[in-house]
Symmetry: C2
Subunit: 209 residues, 2 copies
C-alpha cells in the first residue's frame, strides 16, 4: 500500500544476487562445461533459490550469455603507460591471459563448442568483441595525442589486427598462446600502423607497394 514513502528496499540486493549468480555460472562452466550446466546447480552454488534465478534469467542460455558478457566486459584492464608499445603489449598480454585462464577457456569452449549452436551466442561473441574494442580505443587516442601514432588510423582495425593472431591460434591452429604470441601481435600491428596499412577508408585503394 502506498503510504507516501517508498518502502525500504535492501540496497544492492539485486546486484549481489546477480554477481553471485554470474560467479556461480562461470564456476559451473569451468568445472563441468556448458553441456552439464543446469540452473539448479548454478542456484545452489550461488546460495540462492532456483526461483530467484528464474525470476531474473529465463533459462541457462540467458545465464550463459549474461555471465560471459559481464565477465568479458571487465577482464581486460586498459593500460596507460605513456608508451604505445608498452600499452599495446600490456593489452595483448591481457587478452592472452584472459583467454587462457580457466574462466576464459571455459567461456571459449562454451562459445565455440558446447553452446556454439545457440543463435544468441553469435550475437554475444560480436557484442563482447565490440565492447572490448570500445574500451581499448583510448589507448590509441592517447598515443595519437602524444605523437606516437599517426592520426589517420582506424582504431577498430588496429585492435582487430592485434587480436586476430591470438584468436587464430586458439580457434584454428590450436597452438600454444602466451606472451610470445602477444608480443609478436604487437610487432605486426605497429609495423602495419607505421606503414599506413591501417588507415581509415583504405578499403578501395590498390594494395600497391
Amino acid at each position: 500500500m502506498w503510504s507516501g514513502q517508498p518502502p525500504a528496499r535492501p540496497v544492492g540486493r539485486g546486484a549481489k544476487v546477480r554477481a553471485a549468480v554470474h560467479a556461480a555460472t562461470l564456476a559451473e562452466l569451468v568445472d563441468k562445461g556448458y553441456a552439464s550446466m543446469t540452473v539448479e546447480n548454478v542456484a545452489q552454488r550461488a546460495g540462492v533459490h532456483k526461483t530467484t534465478v528464474y525470476r531474473r534469467w529465463k533459462d541457462r542460455e540467458s545465464l550463459l550469455t549474461d555471465a560471459l558478457a559481464e565477465h568479458m566486459a571487465t577482464d581486460i584492464p586498459v593500460p596507460d603507460t605513456g608508451s604505445i608499445e608498452t600499452d599495446l603489449r600490456a593489452l595483448a598480454r591481457s587478452i592472452v591471459q584472459a583467454l587462457t585462464s580457466p574462466a576464459g577457456q571455459a567461456i571459449l569452449a562454451a562459445m565455440f563448442t558446447g553452446a556454439a549452436h545457440l543463435p544468441q551466442i553469435a550475437a554475444a561473441r560480436r557484442q563482447v568483441f565490440d565492447d572490448r574494442l570500445a574500451r581499448a580505443e583510448p589507448v590509441l587516442r592517447r598515443a595519437i595525442e602524444r605523437g606516437q601514432l599517426p592520426a589517420d588510423i582506424d582504431p577498430a582495425e588496429v585492435l582487430k589486427t592485434l587480436a586476430a593472431p591470438i584468436y587464430l591460434r586458439l580457434l584454428i591452429t590450436a597452438e600454444p598462446v602466451d606472451e610470445t604470441t602477444a608480443d609478436q601481435a604487437v610487432r605486426v600491428t605497429l609495423a602495419a600502423v607505421r606503414a599506413g596499412a591501417l588507415r581509415p577508408g583504405r578499403h578501395d585503394e590498390p594494395v600497391g607497394e
Copy 2:
C-alpha cells in the same frame, strides 16, 4: 579363390566412389547442415548403396572430416604471378572466396557449430590449416628467390598473419568478408614482413621500436 593371377579390378572404381561420396557429403551439408546429415542421405545422393559407404567410412563423423579435408586441400589455388603483392592478394582473395562460398560456409558452420563438439573436428581444423600453409609456402620461397622478400622470414607466421583477420571476421566479429578484407590483410602482412616483424625466432626479443 587364389588362381595365381590377381582378380581383374575396375581401375579407379574406389576413387570414383570416394569422389561421389565426398561431393554428396558437401552437398548435404550445404542443403541441410550437419545436424540433419545422415549416411543414408549421402549414399542416396552419391548414387551408391549405404553399405558401400559404411565399408569405407565408419560413421557420419568420418564422412564429414574426410570430405572437408579433401575439399579444403584443393580449394585454394596457389598463385605464381611473379610478384609477391599480386600472389598474396590472389591467395588472400582465394581464402575469402573459399570460406564464403556455399560449401565453405557449410563447412565452417559444421566445424564451428553443428559438429564443433566432436573431438576429431579440432584435429581436422588444425590439419586443414597446416595443409594450406604447406601448399602456400612456395609463394614465399619464390618471392625470396626473386629478392621481393627478405630471406629471414618465418613462412608459417607470414601466412597466419594473412589468414588471421579473415578468420577473426568470420568467427568473432561476424563482419562481411570480401576482397577488401583480403587486400587489407595483404597490406598488413607485407608491412609486417618488411619491418622484420615476421622473422623466425624473434620470439624472445623485446618488442622494441
